[in-house]
């Protein structure tokens, strides 16, 4: 190992999506020696697929809009396990972050008065739920994620950020004190493995939707950050909370934005009935995503699904007219034609709830600092480790994320992490260097793959993992089935630990990357499964047949998954916002 090359930075940001690029921008502006390490060229990150918009009370559609109303929606949407100090921070800082994006050049759609266009999205209200539907999602047609990611990348170019593009982070490096002091990374193009030293290591690796067979997520969303943090021994929070987006295109899994329903589209069953009127009489198709997804599954299970097998429903948009579709939802028209072979101006789109977003992740505070549990049972900051974006669990989304809140999460907490790290670097950070054996520990798993001589191969094992998750940890969950799933995963882990990488070449070896990703999928899947089995209630996206009600007595808590012994602990939810009164848990109806 001693001949391994090493690179040194003040801060290394792992992941080139919205959160990573926003954090990098902050640090690049401050002149800190920063690098973004991304396994794909940054604009290929999954942020690019976000469609509908970025939810934020910028008071454009409604001049009297208030970030506190947005905060209320967020807390309620998260079924009351969103941390209220974090939701407060996100919703109040949000406008600043959105205006910054606009100043950077993001091509937002506009109202006639020249202000940013905002559309209604699910779970949005005025006046703390009393004032009816709000329109709070700032949009660039239905390509907001693309516009946002490109804008951030462009501004990083402007500020001369260093990019390590097509580099893959293998594992975190910890020193003798347990501080995170960098990572092991592989240059995919050459296969060279490098020790990246850093005073601050930021996980911005995004989601892990690829643990499910059917997902809206990109093929690259393999939970690399979660995997690295778990292997380094750090806990994960609320991993049972997976959002199933109501409208994934049936068969293909590609996303159809909630903005379709925001613009006036609605769901119908095989009888042509607008069934959401029964499940959510007020918000109808714009209820929380968990509510809509469950209602769709109920329709399908009760025999009112569409198609030959009755296994999906329809999203009706034709009544909006070609002009609205062309102006506000052009990307959706394209996607429907390509993946569903329907023109939404003429026919409805077949849709089905599809895995979309990981509410859980690395627990952090609002500065992006990773949190673990100290020996005294209290929260303790992990020195040197930060997380922001989907991989982090701040937690602003609680048990269910509202549409449009993920993009806001990215820019607000990417920015916050960048600002905090800048301050910390100014004050001086001095951790012990990693020793040879610390580095070797982090090299263990890539070494294992490189030395594997026989065994099962990656694609087969991955398919099996995805099938287990799909079958046992989907929209509705139940004890016995989950028990079975957990057992199957344990057995699968043994097989993955002995799996085989046939191609050992160095130049752009994507097979090696996929093998390393499989390890991470395994970590995410197991954390999800064990947390889901443990949370004996139904809350937000976590719905159990056997525990159909919310249990605020026992479970108004975050779950914490500890990798060392694979146990679940509980962590208090923050109910102490600084400038507003606490939103007390109420029955959640739409």
């Amino acid at each position: 190992m001693s001949n391994m090359r090493s690179l040194s930075f003040d801060a290394i940001i792992i992941g080139g999506g919205g959160a990573g690029l926003r954090a990098a921008l902050e640090l690049a502006k401050s002149g800190k020696k920063t690098a973004v390490l991304s396994k794909v060229f940054p604009t290929r990150s999954h942020t690019v697929s976000a469609q509908g918009g970025i939810t934020c009370a910028i008071a454009s559609a409604d001049p009297n809009d208030d970030w506190r109303w947005h905060m209320y929606d967020t807390v309620k949407g998260g079924d009351y396990i969103a941390d209220q100090d974090a939701a407060e921070y996100m919703c109040s800082e949000g406008p600043k972050a959105v205006f910054e994006l606009e100043h950077m050049g993001l091509p937002f759609s506009r109202f006639d008065n020249g202000r940013i266009y905002q559309r209604p999205f699910g779970g949005q209200s005025k006046d703390f739920g009393a004032g009816g539907q709000a329109a709070r999602t700032c949009a660039a047609a239905d390509r907001t994620g693309h516009a946002l990611l490109h804008t951030l990348y462009q501004n990083n170019l402007k500020n001369n950020t260093t990019f390590l593009n097509e580099w893959y982070a293998v594992d975190l490096v910890k020193n003798a004190n347990g501080d995170v002091v960098g990572c092991i990374a592989m240059d995919i193009e050459t296969g060279e493995v490098v020790h990246v030293k850093s005073k601050a290591t930021v996980l911005a690796t995004g989601g892990s939707g690829r643990i499910y067979a059917s997902t809206t997520n990109a093929l690259i969303n393999t939970g690399d950050g979660v995997g690295m943090a778990l292997r380094a021994g750090f806990p994960m929070q609320d991993m049972e909370m997976w959002q199933f987006h109501p409208t994934g295109i049936y068969g293909a899994g590609t996303l159809v934005t909630e903005g379709c329903r925001g613009e006036g589209g609605y769901l119908v069953n095989k009888d042509g009935e607008r069934f959401m009127e029964r499940y959510a009489p007020n918000a109808k198709d714009l209820a929380g995503r968990d509510v809509v997804a469950r209602s769709m599954v109920m329709e399908i299970l009760e025999g009112r699904g569409c198609g030959e097998n009755g296994d999906h429903v329809y999203l009706k948009l034709d009544h909006l007219g070609e002009e609205v579709l062309g102006k506000r939802l052009p990307g959706i028209v394209e996607l429907s034609k390509t993946f569903a072979h329907v023109d939404p101006a003429k026919e409805p789109i077949p849709v089905v709830p599809t895995c979309h977003y990981m509410m859980g992740g690395v627990p952090t505070n609002v500065h992006g600092q990773a949190i673990m549990r100290g020996e005294d049972g209290k929260d303790q900051i992990v020195n040197g480790l930060f997380a922001c974006g989907e991989v982090a669990c701040v937690s602003v989304h609680g048990a269910n994320r509202l549409g449009g809140n993920s993009l806001l999460d990215l820019v607000v907490f990417g920015r916050a992490a960048g600002m905090f790290i800048e301050g910390a670097l100014n004050e001086g950070i001095d951790y012990l260097d990693a020793s040879e054996s610390d580095i070797e520990t982090a090299m263990k798993r890539i070494t294992r793959w490189n030395e594997s001589e026989s065994g099962e191969t990656v694609p087969e094992l991955k398919r099996e993992l995805q099938a287990i998750m799909q079958n046992s940890f989907g929209v509705f969950r139940e004890e016995e089935n989950m028990q079975k799933g957990v057992k199957q995963l344990a057995e699968l882990r043994g097989r993955i630990d002995n799996a085989y990488l046939p191609d050992k070449s160095n130049a752009f070896n994507t097979a090696r990357v996929e093998a390393l990703e499989l390890d991470n999928l395994m970590e995410v899947a197991e954390a999800t499964a064990i947390a889901a089995l443990e949370r004996k209630e139904s809350r937000g996206a976590h719905s159990r047949y056997d525990y159909p009600d919310r249990d605020d007595v026992n479970w108004l808590k975050h779950s914490l998954y500890f990798p060392a012994d694979k146990t679940i602990g509980k962590r208090d939810v923050n109910f102490a916002p600084k400038t507003v009164d606490t939103f007390e848990p109420k029955v959640r109806t739409y």
């Binding site: 290929r44 959105v98 100043h103 950077m104 402007k158 990109a218 394209e334 390509t338 070449s505 752009f508």
Partner: protein, 234 residues
Amino acid sequence: MLQVSIYRYNPETDSAPYMQEFQVDTQGRDIMVLDVLHMMKEQDNGLAYRRSCREGVCGSDGMNMNGKNGLACITPISEVVKGNKLVLRPLPGLPVIRDLVVDMGLFYQQYERIQPYLQNDEPAPAIERLQSPEDRDKLDGLYECILCACCSTSCPSFWWNPDKFVGPAGLLQSYRFLVDSRDTATRERLSELEDPFSVFRCRGIMNCVAVCPKGLNPTRAIGKIREMLLADST
């Protein structure tokens, strides 16, 4: 059984690139070319190609399919396969790293050269900068570029002068900022483009328009840049 012929090159083991034949069982379904590649990768783990979003928005899997550039993930085989035969090659004109993976360095350099970011020397207001819907409409058909390089690598002018001609993708973005009502660096941007290569090496071949998977029109944008240069200097 679909007959696939694919360009293979591994710099560690191959002295020269070659075409390899595969048989892929599509079970009669009209799947995407990317799905075909996944099936081939299961047969041969070492096959290398880029992919990410698999829905045509990230721009990773631009390649040459039966002679035409496009994105594998949104190209159904029915659209490109002729006589049950599919020939897959890397994007033309860029150095090959391995199999279908090309070195996009020159392409990105040309993108960076046009200063692809908003420049405005006036102090930013407390809210957003206002922009009329009409001014915003001017960015449609420009900002949607996904940097897949299908256009630039199908452009003969870019093949001959990839270091000097900005290429259709970069010029489309250049015009995106030239025409943005919020950008104040128009004159500086134009003066960087008036040499005989950056813009003027475009000969209106329009391969870029024919292949753009997002249906964008770089040739039109290049024409607009020429008009702006003309107006600026007369």
